[in-house]
């Protein structure tokens, strides 16, 4: 169907429309899981600090 990579990227004259559609979809589907992973990491780190603080508290009391 495609005779050369250049022909593929030209998309029969619709390059702007096709690649802006697929590109933004790829970008969103890539960035969203990264943002969610950062959110998960943040809450885990907060909980780790809380656990360490509690242990420190108990040791200090004895």
């Amino acid at each position: 169907m495609w005779n050369s990579p250049a022909e593929f990227f030209a998309m029969g004259g619709y390059a702007l429309y096709v690649w802006c559609s697929f590109g933004v979809c790829a970008l969103v589907l890539l960035l969203e899981p990264l943002a969610v992973r950062a959110r998960h990491k943040k809450i885990v780190q907060r909980l780790q600090r809380e656990v360490i603080a509690e242990q420190f508290d108990q040791k200090g009391g004895q």
Binding site: M1, G13, Y14, Y17, E32, P33, H40, R46, L47, E50
Partner: protein, 256 residues
């Protein structure tokens, strides 16, 4: 009769066991890699069919290939809304914590899908209709869907009491369900620039088989992606909301 009752009640018990955040959290963690694997498999297959197998369109040339992301994003934006409203409704009726968290985890994915539907639609409309945007029934109702998602998220974020936020959000989500059939049937009910349904249950698809396959594979890819990201986000929400509980402090990833 009593046997049947016992069976069904034990089955209900099993389901309610997984509605507890402490049992669902590790289960979700185990399921996530599988859904990512499915996302990638369907995505690679779908993109390959979209660009290298599906023939060029007689009328729209290569520009029609936008359909392979536009239709899956639009389907998912409507489907996720129904699932989100169902979870929110369950949370309202049974007062289960996890249901409300599921609804909250799904809202941003649905909002992104609605955004992608509108964005790819604009980039398809410009070369084919000559306009990025028209105030047409299909486009306007999809825009309202995006606003419903954003309204749901903003309402939940604006109420400090988590349980009340869940209830208010659930009512908004359930009222908004009326918009989904309006979107779906808008191309039938009103005169519109937007073309009719691409796939119909009642009649044979009006497109080449390979185009249909590309669209279905991409839709499966978006579906698996939504489940994977939904599970990831619900895990973060569970930890945030259950931060005060003992089971969270005893998790392996939390222990120092």
């Amino acid at each position: 009769m009593s046997n049947v009752n016992n069976l069904s009640s034990s089955r209900i018990m099993n389901w309610f066991k997984f509605s507890s955040p402490s049992t669902f959290y590790p289960l979700a963690g185990k399921m996530i890699p599988w859904f990512w694997a499915l996302t990638i498999i369907f995505g690679v297959a779908g993109l390959w069919v979209s660009f290298f197998v599906a023939p060029v369109d007689a009328v729209q040339g290569q520009g029609y290939r936008i359909i392979f992301v536009h239709v899956p994003a639009s389907w998912m934006s409507m489907f996720i809304y129904l699932v989100m409203a169902a979870w929110a409704g369950l949370g309202l009726v049974f007062n289960t914590r996890l249901s409300a968290m599921m609804a909250q985890a799904l809202a941003p994915i649905g909002a992104w899908m609605a955004f992608l539907s509108l964005w790819t639609g604009a980039f398809w409309g410009k070369p084919m209709w000559g306009a990025w945007w028209v105030w047409d029934a299909r486009l306007t109702s999809e825009l309202i869907l995006l606003f419903l998602y954003l309204g749901f998220m903003a309402l939940q974020a604006s109420i400090d009491n988590v349980r009340r936020a869940d209830k208010a959000g659930a009512i908004l989500a359930l009222v908004g369900v009326v918009n989904v059939p309006i979107i779906y049937f808008s191309v039938k009910w009103w005169n519109t620039l937007h073309q009719g349904a691409s796939v119909s249950l009642t009649k044979a698809p009006a497109m080449a088989q390979t185009m249909l396959w590309g669209m279905l594979l991409m839709a499966l890819c978006f579906w698996m992606y939504s489940i994977a990201v939904g599970l990831m986000r619900v895990r973060a929400i569970i930890l945030e909301r259950e931060a005060h509980t003992d089971w969270v402090k005893q998790l392996n990833e939390v222990k120092p």
